[in-house]
């Protein structure tokens, strides 16, 4: 009997844990919602932003995230650095991992959306990030 009781509790606990992590993530949101958006536009904004972030994590974070003072810091890229067909050939790793068979232009645009709307780092990016141009 005891065992049978424990399983649902464990499941429940895991769900609760996941939920709390989720809430923590959401509350610690890394974006600034532009003013004047309707509720549905806000929802759409958050969806797009999160999609962009996921795609960033999948395709870019490995090389571009930095650990500073034991904290993972995402870089701040500008729109100018994000021309779809130039970013693909910026350097050799980009050619091999950002080809049209690896990521679509729509997805690159979503990553750009993430960069445009994410909170900028407080540190001076010029001194902390040196990316290959």
């Amino acid at each position: 009997m005891n065992i049978k009781l424990y399983i649902p509790i464990n499941k429940y606990l895991i769900c609760l844990l996941l939920l709390s992590i989720f809430i923590a993530c959401v509350s610690n949101k890394n974006y600034i919602i532009p003013k004047g958006l309707s509720t549905s536009q806000k929802k759409d904004f958050v969806l797009q932003f999160n999609q962009g972030r996921t795609l960033y994590d999948l395709n870019c974070a490995n090389c571009h995230n930095k650990i500073i003072n034991n904290k993972v810091v995402e870089p701040d890229f500008t729109v100018e650095q994000f021309e779809i067909y130039k970013i693909r050939i910026k350097n050799e790793p980009h050619v091999t991992s950002l080809g049209p068979q690896q990521i679509t232009p729509t997805e690159i645009n979503k990553i750009l959306f993430f960069f445009i709307n994410k909170k900028k780092n407080k540190l001076n990016p010029a001194t902390t990030f040196k990316h290959i141009d």
Partner: protein, 667 residues
Amino acid sequence: MPSVFKKLKHSNHYTVLASLLCLIYLSLSFSTTKKDKPYTDHYNSLGVNFNVQMDDLKNEITVGDISNQNVILEIKRRINICRHVLKALDFWWRYYEPIAYKKINGPLLVEWENEVFEKHEKPYKREGFGLSLALMYLDEKNITKDSLLHLIDPAIKTIEVFSSDSIIQQLETPASFFFCNRLFLLNLATIYTTGFECPEDEWILPELNFILLSVDAIYKRYSLQYPDLNLPQEYLDLFHEMSLFVQQKVHQNYKNVNPLIGVAQPKDTVSSFDHFTWIQKYVNPLYKMNQDMISKNHLVSLSYIDYSMNSKNSSIFDKSLYHAQNTQGIFLRVKDSSAIHEMIKLGKLLFYDPILSKNNKRSCVSCHKPTQYFTDTSVSTSLEYDGITRLTRNTPTLINSEFNHLILLDGKHITLQDQLLDVITNPKELGMKRNEIVAKVMSCPDYKKAFNTFLKYTPTEQKITPEHIVSVISMYVSTLSQYEAPFDQMMNGTQPVNDEVQAGFNLFMGKAKCGTCHFVPLFNGVKPPYTNSEFEVLGVPSDTTFHMISSDEGRFVINPAYETKHAFRTGSIRNSSFTKPYMHNGVFNTMDEVIEFYNAGGGNGKGLIIENQTLSSDSLKLTVLEKKQLITFIQSLDEMVPNQFPPMNLPKSKNKLLNNRKIGGEY
């Protein structure tokens, strides 16, 4: 070195040029401490030479009296000198700065840009500039200096782009040489031999001969500068043999072979050139060896023009040559072959399932019949959703659709998935509402279960979207495009060459001029570096009485302009034995009619008046035998696509009203 180009730009004085050239020569001969760079130097000195010749040309135009016929002849002679020097630079310039290059060697007609690296942008107009156009302009009446300079000036201004630091840096490492060479080889198979950018047919062979000599000079200097990463001897030997093949032809065909392009007088026309042997025996094996060098040395192209090219491909006649569409859609990153297999199975099921139509009576199969090469050969245009009216365009085959950068005959869509969604939600086709698609499909537990297991492959999505559904369909459709045709096998040497096919191909590339729009190897409007989809205005009539042009405005609907009216994307001629009727409106029922239409010079040749027709209105003067040979060649492009068997049954829905669906739909 780079700055030399620029300094020369504004100078028109021979003395200054001569002294500068001397200075270059001296600086080169005394620079013993500097490492020898014969390859880079060759590039620079050809560039300087071109700039000098262009300035001389401009000077001649500015100073000369263009009402005097002798001055016109002198200008023509100078233009030909410039074209000549340019042919030697073509090897690099076309690769390093393709867009800038078009200002010097521009399209003969106004071009609306739709290259793959620009297809997300609104199309823009690219006016023709450059030497070939200037040459053609000189033959017109009432020419003015301003108009002539308008064609030449942008070319001169563009030259400095080619001495930029980024290009010089690329020349200072060996890698980009192999990508220049790849593009050069692909152009040998497609545009250099067909007269694609040659104002006169008689010049094709002398120009080709000169290009080969120039490239040989480049190869020699490259091997001096980069002895460690050189083309294999086998390559150089075959290249030499190829050059002799052309030289012999030039000696046979021309009375006096003047080294200057545009002067050689032909005995014969270019149509006797054996395009088949040229590609099969020389170009394709050379391409393979160059590709081997790229993959063996893990070379990477840093040019946006190479997006589509596949470095692992080893034959021009292999479907892996270039990549135009993401056939996996939202499942782009899935590599697991068993998951892909399951997705394809699901896609096939949906392809036959009328659940994707509003009335549950139509499916993809309604128009794209698997037994008829995924088109409908029984009707000019298929039925609309209402079951009474007819659509305006002929149903295209789905086979090889993934090798187009722009989808649909008017290039409306840039992805297969957008096109699929368009068909499903088009009130004249499947008539669904976008927001109803998912709920309807997911009402079948089988679909729901399958898609839910696939959700883990799309981490950006929390739930199933219409994109998931169309992506599996495009994955299924893509499996139909992987088959080869007997012609591919002949080119790849896995099947003996058929003489009639060979003769037909030579006509296709030569006298019949088909090859100037239908490019090797897909024979569609995608030419090296395989980054664009071209449109043409042919003047296709509304019916076979040829009383009027078809009212369909084609590309104009998407991008309204004088040039795009009645323009349609060039389709592939592969599998055309099985995909009648032909043209955008299905007006011709046999291949003979199609060839007769082209032979007559399109709509204009048939007596219609189409101002912007891009097809020459002159007759091709094909004989009965030649037409027969052309058809034999076209039939050799029929791919061996295996029969498709419909699914045994469709998934049951929780909504009982949906469970009377017929496999493939009812009409």
